[in-house]
Symmetry: C2
Subunit: 411 residues, 2 copies
């Protein structure tokens, strides 16, 4: 018998029929003898409907009132799911965020959880009840309703699991687990049984949008085993957990992430003196443009090239900013391209295996793919290449590193 | 400068445009220097939509969860109205029932208010803010969400006015006041400027469905002046208040109520012995049938006739029950009719004026209308007549008692 926190997203509870299906699923777990806390999102479409109403009134609706408004979405779902459970003969009780007392700071629309009162939930669990909690919402110290920002229901699930010291936090989604790479691009992509928090963070931030990144950070911090599963298909999903240091052999590479959302910009011939980087990035950041990769080469003849990537939507805006900056700095030229793709190999096994990078570069060279930028971290190697070669690169690397589904032993 | 509680119903806040119109109205009052607390219902249709979702899951949804579900309706409205006020530059803050701490008993779906914490509202009013409160809802002593039952937003308005010792509670509706009788039946029906709580109670219970009867009781008990007004038309509406004993002359009759929802049943030739009434009404009440008028004549030759009225929907069921009862009692016969109407004249002035009843009966006789049952209270005379004469009777009485719009002086 275990204590399990289950989180079902908007699509999983998107209709009365689906809510009833979730209730059946919860009942099965309950009958296996587990204690169950269920966290739910608003029914899909509901949050957008509510935001639509607010936007008819104001382009900039009061943040406090936005949270009062959108938090009704999850409140509807907890009531309906509890009714559905009761209808199946399962004793269940719903809680809004404020009713649990999920205490947050007062940053409306992007609040952070500070404390969770587990007293009521514990009493219900002890009485044999399923506890149904509204995701995404909390209450500040003054009693105001807050929300954690979009997708925050994952965070609620993990935070409740941490507070209750649950054995596992299960996140039900519309995919049956985390894959070595996107199955739409690589047919032979394989569901991973297990992945570490660190790897998942690298995968998530690189575009494998299975989980909210904040919830993974949270789970890692509090060491809550996290499992990604399909809402309506059988299967063990993917367990995200701490690194298993006792494992005989870690796979070198866990997965390959990629995205084509970025554009690169290079300021050429910048004087190699202190403060240049901040002079270039200062105005970019002041314009609220987020920067991803940053690369600067060793200087030659007192000048250097400074390259970084931004979201593709910000490409033109950034280019304009850089023209001005380049003049002030006396730089030679500003160049850029938005037809690029970033491909990243992620794996904790990389730490103890030399030669991953050279093998990656060799593989790409064999396919005649030119590498434009390279950036590495302890468990990740990212390269920027021409967008048109992206699928080819991902497939070639997937095979080369033994990730293909018919090659289960790995390297 | 006064403290005014304003309540806007579902139709008044039925769309974003209407919510914006309400915000404009509130702004005008605020600019006149008043302190304003606004109570709102769910947008029209929303409560039914939510109930529809629940009924898809269960014909008998858990009452606790029903309240969690339907209370979201008002929560949406308070957020949108507060945003609309803010957009107009009016500082406003929303409160759910639990946030105010409108404490109720734990009778889900029909809770009664026990206590209201005015601290937060007072602080907001003192800070110059408009306070926007969700009607219809509260919280029990254990933190569970409760609702007051349908139409309960009126009660919230009155209860807040009582707790805050407001100068007036204004109920905005789709009529511009309380009329001497139904204007659809009597063209010359006249809006009353003023009516007493007692009169309003008699009018309301008899089918003038302008206000929730519970809210009138509540207002009377706490002596909260209550004003019924049209949401979007100018006008002073009707003030419902305590009896003005200093008035030189009260009008004898304030209004005429009527309904055709009832059926009458008579058990003839009942032995006139103690316990008969309860033997007749016991089985009726056991079948959950509500009885309205009850009349028993003085006995002649040891037997009497016992007559009462029920809702027309319960007519057949009651008739069947009475057949059995009549046999057991040795009664002669059971008779009934469901083509009847009840017409009631209401007025506190009746107390001090003799001859109202005889004038009423004379007026009906002049129109050749036969009276089937008569029942009186201190401020009301009700008669049951054939349904087909109802409009004629109401019009004749309305004229005879000087209520017509072109006859403003009264009797």
């Amino acid at each position: 018998m275990a204590l399990i926190v289950q989180k079902y997203g908007g699509t999983s509870v998107g209709s009365v029929e689906r809510i009833q299906a979730v209730a059946e699923k919860v009942k099965t777990f309950k009958e296996q003898g587990h204690d169950i806390v269920v966290v739910v999102s608003a029914m899909s479409g509901e949050t957008n409907r509510l935001i639509g109403l607010a936007n008819q009134i104001s382009e900039m609706p009061t943040p406090r009132e936005m949270d009062v408004l959108v938090s009704t979405g999850e409140q509807v779902t907890i009531a309906l799911l509890s009714m559905a459970l009761n209808k199946l003969g399962v004793d269940a009780r719903s809680y809004t965020g404020p009713q649990v007392r999920i205490v947050t700071d007062d940053a409306y629309m992007k609040a952070r959880i500070q404390e969770i009162d587990t007293k009521n939930m514990r009493a219900d669990l002890d009485a044999g009840r399923v506890v149904v909690v509204a995701g995404f919402q909390g209450v500040d110290g003054s009693g105001n309703i807050t929300t954690l920002g979009r997708g925050g229901s994952d965070t609620t699930g993990v935070a409740l699991a941490a507070a209750l010291k649950a054995d596992e936090c299960q996140i039900y989604t519309d995919v049956d687990g985390v894959y070595t790479t996107d199955p739409r691009v690589v047919e032979k992509a394989r569901r991973m049984d297990k992945i570490t928090f660190e790897e998942m963070l690298e995968m998530a931030s690189l575009g494998s949008k299975v989980l909210q990144i904040r919830s993974v950070e949270f789970a890692g911090k509090y060491k809550v085993p996290l499992r990604v599963l399909h809402s309506f298909k059988e299967g063990a999903g993917t367990l995200i957990t701490i690194e298993d240091t006792d494992a005989v052999e870690q796979p070198i590479i866990s997965g390959i992430a990629f995205n084509r959302d970025e554009a690169k910009l290079t300021v050429q011939g910048v004087p190699d003196i202190p403060g240049v980087a901040s002079k270039i990035l200062g105005p970019v950041s002041a314009a609220n443009i987020e920067v991803d990769m940053i690369v600067q080469n060793v200087a030659a003849d007192g000048n250097t090239d400074f390259t970084f990537t931004v979201h593709r939507n910000d490409y033109k805006k950034t280019l304009n900013i850089l023209q001005d900056v380049a003049k002030q700095l006396g730089a030679r030229e500003v160049k850029g391209a938005n037809d690029i793709a970033k491909v990243s190999m992620v794996g904790v096994g990389m730490r103890s295996h030399a030669g991953v990078a050279s093998k990656m570069f060799e593989c790409l060279a064999n396919e005649n793919i030119n590498i434009q930028i390279i950036s590495t971290s302890e468990i990740k190697i990212s390269v920027v290449i021409s967008e048109k070669y992206m699928e080819l690169a991902v497939r070639a690397l997937h095979t080369a590193f033994g990730l293909d589904a018919d090659d289960k032993d790995g390297e």
